[in-house]
Symmetry: C2
Amino acid sequence: MGRIDKVAASAAAAVADIPDGARILLGGFGVIQSWPTSLMKALHRRGVRDLTIICNTPGVGPTSPQILAENHQIKKLIASFAAYPTRPTPVEAAIKSGEIELELVPQGTLVERVRAGGAGLPAFYTPTGVGTDAAKGKEERVFNGRRYVLETAMQADFALLRGATADRYGNVVYRRGSRNFNPLFATGAKTTIVEVERIVEPGAVDPEAVVTPHIFVDRVVQNEHPLDLQAIRELSRRYGKQWRLEARQAAGGPQGLPPELMARKAALLLRPGEYVNLGLGIPTLVSNFIDPERNITLHSENGMLGFGPLAGTDEEDVDLYNASGQLVSQLPGASYFHSCDAFAMARSGRVSTVILGGFQVSERGDLANWNVPHTGVGGIGGAMDLAAGSARIVVVMFHLTRDGAPKLLRECTYPLTAMRCVSTVVTDLAVIDVDDGGFVLREVAPGVSVEDVRGATAAPLRVPDTVREMEFG
Amino acid sequence: MGRIDKVAASAAAAVADIPDGARILLGGFGVIQSWPTSLMKALHRRGVRDLTIICNTPGVGPTSPQILAENHQIKKLIASFAAYPTRPTPVEAAIKSGEIELELVPQGTLVERVRAGGAGLPAFYTPTGVGTDAAKGKEERVFNGRRYVLETAMQADFALLRGATADRYGNVVYRRGSRNFNPLFATGAKTTIVEVERIVEPGAVDPEAVVTPHIFVDRVVQNEHPLDLQAIRELSRRYGKQWRLEARQAAGGPQGLPPELMARKAALLLRPGEYVNLGLGIPTLVSNFIDPERNITLHSENGMLGFGPLAGTDEEDVDLYNASGQLVSQLPGASYFHSCDAFAMARSGRVSTVILGGFQVSERGDLANWNVPHTGVGGIGGAMDLAAGSARIVVVMFHLTRDGAPKLLRECTYPLTAMRCVSTVVTDLAVIDVDDGGFVLREVAPGVSVEDVRGATAAPLRVPDTVREMEFG
């Protein structure tokens, strides 16, 4: 058995047969960390064109797929995020100019479609995206009284992945949150190429710990671009502006809570023993305000259960990040898995509360949080999948837009993330429940009146006899 | 976070709330090894009735679900094998008497249906079982010119599983081939209960090695019935008769090869570097005849790549077995995974050759190998799933039945395993290819004439100019 040897001499050798027009899966979760950078750079040097790239997001910076867009190598992008929220990127520019065709796919649907292809299954039904743009043109069907969308398998010619260690046969293990899409994408291509930090002899990887068995791997290559903590920090500093969360007062609106207090309020809504997912933006702050005594377990779409507060400088690890790409800490009893398993936990209702950011919420509980029309190409991410489970959905958002427009409405005017899913909205002004009758005011922020909230809400607001002023634990 | 504690005081306490009529997933692959015996025995003591049991096979002996059938606790069985080939069991008797209703499901479809339920997906299309009894009454649909069957999610009230180690939160790891159905079944029930050899503190299980994250686990309990090697050996001796493979001469037929030489011949058909699955019966012997220099990797449905010959006495391990339940050896570069991943490898065509036993093969390449009408309740196992991939299917079987009836036919008269799947048949008399024109004789066994083979074959047999006498390496 000693002769199987899938080790390629270099990243350049590993991608030497990728032709123009190839369809390529790129592993990685993507905002900043852990791309198959050596393989992408080799592809960049070769200059092959008209590529179809399938990935979570094209990311940012010189280690990301953006380098392929800059070099005009991408014809089509299939992703769950296409643009970085606040900073223009080469991919976004190329989408807007028509150079790159974009197919936006909900994150959980994306990995599940690739898994289906890798498992020899042509199609499946999912609750994700029902009633939204993601379901447009797709067959719909009712099972047990609920609506589902038919999604088809997605396959590719090549998969370019990044692992931690591989043996010469091609058995691969990953590190922590960097497992994410990689094990699924390994199954989805005719030719799977993995760059790793370390190549070892067969037998040196614990057979119980192998995540991608070698049957799925065609080539292994030594990583030529290790990403260090300093580089991550620099990228975060250069591209990370959207994570700065400042208190703000909308034009003409009352002064409400700063984001930290909104997050703290949301944290108090969590029930002991819950499994909780935190979306992009203010929700990520919630991890800093969870009482350890309440046995709440945080879940992340890149494949982690049991992370703690944002990492302090001394505990930062390049492979230990949440779904927003922020470096986090690991608690005892944590576990890592791939993104298909992460979304299985969400869609099946085991994640019991999801805290999401929002652009608009309707009085029926419809949520819009992925695209502001006419302002960009948008990013669905995992929100549609998270909202498709039976979890309680708590939306944390400012009550008004910067321009003073209400975000709690009779009907959403932005593209929907999911229908009838929101249970509670925490804003800088109030805590509002959504029930069959619409919005119900539960708490108001200190210094904010019931009339302030009513004035900032563009839908009927029921006000029970007891509306408390918010407390924070 | 210190207070999550899912440890139950005893197996009896862990199953105390399982009511009459419950629908229960039983983990384990099943022939002899690694059942959740403590939990089943506790259920047996409680005497709850009208259970629906979902498992790979009801197995044999006092550590298996047979104890529930003996005690008349089972109303319905959903399984891929219902009966042990040569020995009557309480389950088989109860099926024949009508006490137990039986639903036979292909093994890969069974785990995939449970996975779908655990992933919040209501249904999927699969190639497994098209044109067979397993597809009867099910919707069929064509994708890209190929026929597929619609299968729906399967869920249960309880899952009773067996792991190796768990922490108090409920993170579980398994040992070697005993991973099999357990991680899938953990996702498929409202209440998941796992018995383990060892319970540890949170943090003592490597987060990267957790196979079932605690979000899927409700109760953990100390195993009260460890299964030792001696017990496995005894069960194998008492119930293992069907694995004795003797040379035989059919009534009126010519004397052909003994099974060992048939297996050796099949091993020679394998190509260097292939990934190969070996079915029940004579095919399992092939592992003893594979030249290590040819870099062939053996795949097993219970979730293993890289096993070697049957285990010698000094390397026997209760958790290291192939899909036939035989103890095998582990080679360097081996890996373990769950059965959904095992079948993904098969259906997607990554397992490139499958060697199966057969009851009948038609000149079109149809295979029947799971049920002889009117003789028993049958067992589909993984054969339908293995035959549904794009693998080359090699059938190894005696050319004639014991009674002298031909098994190579114009049309199969037994229920089909899969249509148009067989490439080559190795019998005690000959090696025969199946192509678009039907059977083609390639080699004859020593002492066997072309006319002997023709006389034993109930379909036209093309005989090229060169028909070699078999050689064995």
